[in-house]
């Protein structure tokens, strides 16, 4: 009897506690005085980027006064997966906001698991065509559009003008003259002398998204794929002969010591590496290094000119009760004004073709290189629900290649794990 009472007491308390935690954090979509109230999450990027999000949402609220009001929360992204962990936790407890910001390659996973709602109905076809193809690619899953971004991204080869001149090397300045893998290897070898490496690839970023973002380009350029065209199978693709060949090229770069796994984060800036495969977001940081005279050229290619793509994008959560209004926010954050402005602030290339016209610096060197890549060679990472596994396993295989391991064995593992994960999403 006493025990029973105690248990009841416990249960009541436990229940009341769980009831307390069920706060009103999630998608509100409520109306107040006829004004739709929305919630939005954005990741904590660079300080200037965060300021931009805040400012743009303020402007949105002003422009939609009396109709829509958005409350923006900036969520720390930290090292690793803090922002994603937050989305995952919110998704399971019905706590998602109406509008959320996410890294491009994860759109597929969020779409397949029903976290995102499609936004095709709210985006005009003509407007869609203005976006870089790769941005539409990254936001599309199962031929439905789920996310639109304001920024594109790219990786280029940055080079130290002084060191290249000393070695008598001329970096290509137009896309049709881009370096092939062999030329790139030769240049790297020539530039490696004394205490200077020919190249740095930011292996210090760890086994994160970076290695897939950069590494998949080697596979694609060599004619390989990470998944088949339907994105239902990894075996025979991520570990296919062309992918293995590509990873062996990466392995050779490390083996011939032109690049090191322990290159520091600023080796290029400090003149300890002559070239760098680096993201275009690094450009603003170069200003701090007065002695650095830098230039950039295209991502080297094997069979097909390819460059990486993808950046943070906005989508509407399926928990939102006001998807139409939420889609307005997505459109606002990726309209031409937003795209031009964020591009000016972050140095990231714009996600829209029309925005390039407002940014004349992309018509001449060195930024012309970025524009050429974004509009001609950019390829998005595959939108697949198995992406979290695929990217982790591919990155591990890339790191294994850099450390001189058997490439085929590692890619086989990646294929096996990805296929098991894909199995889960088959109906």
């Amino acid at each position: 009897m006493k025990k029973g009472l105690l248990l009841l007491f416990c249960l009541v308390l436990a229940l009341s506690m769980s009831a307390c935690s069920n706060d009103n954090q999630g998608a509100s979509g409520t109306e107040k005085n006829g004004e739709v109230q929305l919630k939005m999450w954005a990741h904590q990027g660079q300080p200037k980027e965060v300021d931009f999000y805040k400012k743009r949402i303020e402007e949105f609220n002003k422009a939609h006064k009396g109709k829509i009001h958005v409350k923006l929360d900036i969520i720390p992204s930290g090292a690793g997966h803090a922002y994603e962990d937050k989305i995952n936790a919110a998704a399971t407890s019905n706590g998602l906001p109406d509008v959320l910001d996410m890294d491009g390659p994860f759109v597929g996973n969020y779409a397949a698991t029903g976290i995102l709602a499609p936004i095709d109905d709210y985006v005009e076809k003509k407007d869609k065509q203005d976006f870089a193809k790769s941005i539409i690619q990254q936001g599309t899953y199962d031929s439905k559009l789920y996310a639109l971004g304001a920024m594109e991204s790219s990786i280029v080869v940055f080079y130290n003008k002084k060191l290249l001149k000393e070695a008598g090397i001329n970096a290509p300045e137009s896309l049709d003259k881009a370096w092939t893998w062999d030329q790139f290897m030769d240049a790297s070898k020539k530039l490696t002398k004394n205490n200077v490496r020919g190249l740095t690839m930011h292996m210090d970023n760890g086994v994160g998204e970076w290695l897939t973002y950069m590494g998949s380009v080697f596979v694609w350029s060599n004619g390989g794929l990470l998944l088949n065209k339907d994105r239902t199978k990894a075996d025979g693709y991520v570990n296919g002969p062309k992918s293995i060949e590509a990873m062996n090229y990466v392995k050779d770069l490390f083996k011939s010591k032109v690049v090191s796994v322990s290159n520091g984060p600023t080796d290029f800036e400090e003149g300890k590496a002559a070239m760098m495969l680096g993201g275009v977001w690094l450009i603003p940081g170069f200003e701090e290094y007065k002695n650095l005279d830098w230039g950039m050229t295209y991502f080297p290619y094997s069979k097909k000119k390819t460059s990486p793509s993808g950046s943070w994008a906005f989508g509407v959560s399926s928990q939102s009760k006001q998807p139409k209004e939420a889609a307005e926010v997505v459109k606002w954050m990726s309209n031409k004004d937003s795209v031009v402005e964020i591009s000016k602030i972050t140095g990231m290339p714009p996600a829209r073709e029309s925005a390039f016209k407002e940014l004349p610096e992309y018509d001449k060197l060195p930024k012309k290189i970025i524009k050429d890549q974004v509009l001609n060679t950019a390829k998005a990472r595959p939108a697949t629900p198995a992406y979290p596994v695929l990217t982790a396993k591919f990155a591990e295989a890339f790191q294994a290649a850099a450390l001189g391991q058997d490439v085929k064995k590692e890619l086989d593992k990646a294929a096996k794990d990805t296929d098991r994960e894909l199995e889960r999403f088959k109906k």
Partner: protein, 310 residues
């Protein structure tokens, strides 16, 4: 002497509370004190443990709980053939097997050192204890810089002695040992403090008597100090063991389990599988197996210690 007969309150009964009532009142009060802790324990420890056991038999995917299905022993079958699980188990075992004895010995040595009655000894006690009160995340980040192969402090110091350079965290054969070394350095101060308290409990006259009998320092250590702190030694061995099996922050911050899974531990794998890969079912199975392993070790340890204290 005859035992004093117990006074009953038959002669002077308390006016309102009968013994039975008082007992009940006490019981209520004691439940009141224990209650909140029990509830917290239940909600945050026991309930999740039961749920984990349940999830380990399902294919629960973090983002689609509504599609959860019962899959029987499938997750456990997968565990049996998972190379990475075996590797994580091995890495965890390596960490425990090295850290528990070495850290205990280092802590004991430090405690003996700082137990001297020398001026300024408090500074050393503080210095050895300082890493313990520093957050493990911060310590890990700092040591990532120290271990930088090109311009880190570790290689600079080793260079003076004429060895190295080492790759440390970027080499699959050195990464785990680098983490082990750092963890011992970080944690030893805690055990040192407990040892120190134990050492100061040993009465001085024992040492004086030993001196008179002509015992040297080593004999004093073996015959007086060690037996004097034996219970503390046992306690520390158990606590360190349990803490060591839970290794997570260091690989999470410093290596993300790499390179080539060489620093992937069981707890890291549970996190990675459950959150990064969203495979809660499989992650729960790993957690349950981990629980069983720790349970078995704890039972063995208890048995072993019971025998030795008798």
């Amino acid at each position: 002497m005859e035992p004093v007969p117990q006074k009953t309150n038959v002669d002077h009964p308390l006016p309102t509370v009968s013994p039975k009532q008082r007992k009940r009142k006490n019981l209520f009060a004691s439940y009141g004190f224990v209650g909140p802790a029990m509830i917290l324990l239940f909600v945050f420890l026991i309930l999740p443990a039961i749920l984990a056991l349940y999830y380990s038999f399902t294919n629960y995917y973090l983002l689609t709980p509504e599609k959860m299905k019962f899959v029987g022993m499938e997750n456990y079958k997968r565990l049996a053939e998972d190379d990475i699980f075996l590797k994580s188990l091995g890495n965890t075992a390596l960490f425990v097997v090295i850290v528990v004895p070495v850290q205990t010995l280092v802590a004991l040595a430090l405690a003996l050192l700082v137990n001297q009655k020398v001026r300024g000894i408090k500074f050393f006690r503080m210095a050895f204890f300082a890493p313990v009160v520093t957050s493990m995340v911060i310590v890990s980040i700092l040591w990532t810089f120290i271990y930088n192969p090109d311009n880190g402090l570790a290689n600079s110091i080793l260079n003076i002695v004429g060895i190295g350079p080492f790759q440390f965290l970027t080499d699959k054969d050195q990464a785990m040992y680098s983490i082990i070394f750092m963890s011992i350095w970080q944690g030893a101060g805690y055990q040192m403090m407990i040892f120190l308290a134990g050492l100061q409990e040993i009465p001085d006259h024992l040492y004086e008597a030993a001196s008179i009998d002509g015992a040297n320092a080593w004999q004093k250590l073996i015959n007086i100090t060690i037996p004097g702190i034996r219970n503390i030694l046992v306690f520390i061995a158990i606590v360190t063991m349990i803490a060591a099996t839970k290794l997570f922050i260091q690989p999470f911050v410093m290596t993300q389990g790499g390179p080539l899974d060489s620093t992937k531990t069981l707890v890291y794998m549970v996190y990675e599988t459950g959150f990064k890969f969203r495979d809660v079912g499989y992650s729960s199975a790993i957690a349950i197996l981990f629980f069983v392993i720790v349970l078995v070790i704890s039972i063995l340890q208890r048995k072993f210690i019971k025998e030795s204290t008798e």
